[in-house]
Amino acid sequence: MINRTVNRTGTPLVEMRDISISFGGIKAVDHVSIDLYPGEVVGLLGHNGAGKSTLIKCLSGAYQKDAGHILINGQEVEISNPRDARAQNIETIYQTLALADNLDAASNLFLGREIKRNGIVDDAKMEAEARKIMGRLNPNFRKFNVPVSALSGGQRQSVAIARAVYFNAKILIMDEPTAALGPHETQMVAELIQELKAQGLGIFLIEHDIHNVMKLCDRASVMKNGQLVGTVNVNEVTDDDILGMIIMGKQPAKAA
């Protein structure tokens, strides 16, 4: 079991207040507020289409919120594209991994943030850096000189994770990071999450598997039909309570 003594007395790392976003009249996210503290993992749960991915994309810069406020360390920030999010040390591991299949691991890792020497991209330096970080995350990774389309699911995942971790993220968004992985690889991701948590990162984890939520998360925020059902401390509820929130949109008897 993980250490669940998160200090929530200070300023939250991330506060999303009253966020709304709609697409063509449909309210995908409807006045939702969530927060995240340093060293904490907050699970985002809900059915497909409940709005969790849409909500989190407002934080990663993929979508622009229609209304609401985003505060990082208590300061209101404007995140209107992925660059803004990266500038706030927010890194995202997308469910699709968002890799350019025709480029190699190092090019993907540094995409948008290439290391340059005299104005030209320094591939050798980037590959050396990629080898360093991959040596830490996935020591068996060897395929540095092939397009990532030639990699297995797990290897592709480790490239996406390396990209998020390499640039000193303070806030990490993981969208179903283990959905496409085998049990062994899932365990590696779980260990990585705990390591990053110990380093003081805040992590939003979008997850369908209740078992993973109970194991990895400190708190869980449940959404249904674009609205927030509630946020609970995971160690104060049972998995049936959380399922009840997801399926019926019903608060457990003893909510946090």
Partner: protein, 433 residues
Amino acid sequence: MTDPGHTAIGTAPRRSLIDTLEIDVRLLGMLMAFAAVAVVFTIWTGGTFVGPRNVFNIAVQTVPVGIMACGMVFVIVARHIDLSVGSMLAMCSAVLAMGQTTWLPTMFGTSYGNPAILAATVVIGLTFGTLMGAVTGWLVGYQKIPSFIVTLGGLFVWRNVNWFTTNGQSVSLTDPNLLMFGGTEGVLGASASWVLGLVASGLAVWGIIASRRNKLRHGFMVKPVWAEAMMAGLIVGAILLFVGWLSRYPVPPAKLKRLFEARGEVMPEGYTAMHGLPISVLILIAVAVVMTVVARKTTFGRYIFAMGGNPDATDLAGINTRALTVKIFALMGFLCALAALVAQARLQSHGNDIGMLEELRVIAAAVIGGTALAGGVGTIYGAILGALIMQSLQSGMAMVGVDTPFQNIVVGLVLIIAVWVDILYRKRLGLSK
């Protein structure tokens, strides 16, 4: 995250020559196809095909399509298409022709042939081409109109704006400074060509050494020294062979006599001069080198390939793909203008039909050269080889007296076969299903 099943890429004890030299197999295939075309026509024409004169002509005729094919590689790699390049060439050519013969001379009260006017016209023409491309790029990137539609429309629009610009008349171009960009009227001569060839060889060797040093500094595997030396030898050999060959193509005595007379001198008895490298071919080589560096060594090029591989991921990586699209098409427009300059200089006139159907040749050159229409894959050298193969085929068939319709049939079939072979090759390698 370990994946022990997929780590076997280590060095096999014995590697084939091609592996050791790290030659792209696809490049090798194209070179062999090119060689086959050359050998067949050389035998068929009894050697005339590879004679200095014909090599010179093929090189010069390849230039406009080659220049545009470089830009088309970027466009197609980014998952777009540009069907308007032939019409843009015509439009730029019209602006260049009218600019130097009518507009600017009238404005400044000078006569046709003033070098300053020509320089200004070239700047205006290149700027105009870039702007035309940027408009296409804006419609595609920011307004999200499919590039196929925008450029199909552009094909009609620019071809006919061109018609109105010149009132449908051909413009004869005689300024010797302009004709230098064409073919036989703008050559370096043998000595200067050799100097340039040696300098280029030196740069190629230096490039190989610098790249090896950079790899070693980071502790990566490098090719054995003999393999590097062999590659350097092949490249230097190819450069010097090309230079040497063109330096054996003599300028006709009648033309030399005329040149001397123009300077008010008398040609000495027994005087000869060789063509050497044409300036237009140097322009193509410069474009190819710059575009290759852009593709491989700049973030601009990297982002184009990333966008072709996965547009959404490129967006999410914080790259402004809309602005990138504008830049790609603007570059294409610039290259169309450059190609227009070379084409009108070679033809010594601007006609309404200049660049007609050229878009298809340009796309065919890029595709024969291994650029995938699905995006994300393509090389500059491949596109130029593609243009060269097509031009050689046409030139060879014309020499042996094949009728024009049949020439076009062969070029069309070659396009299909080239892509077919590529698909079979990729299937066999397991690169695609």
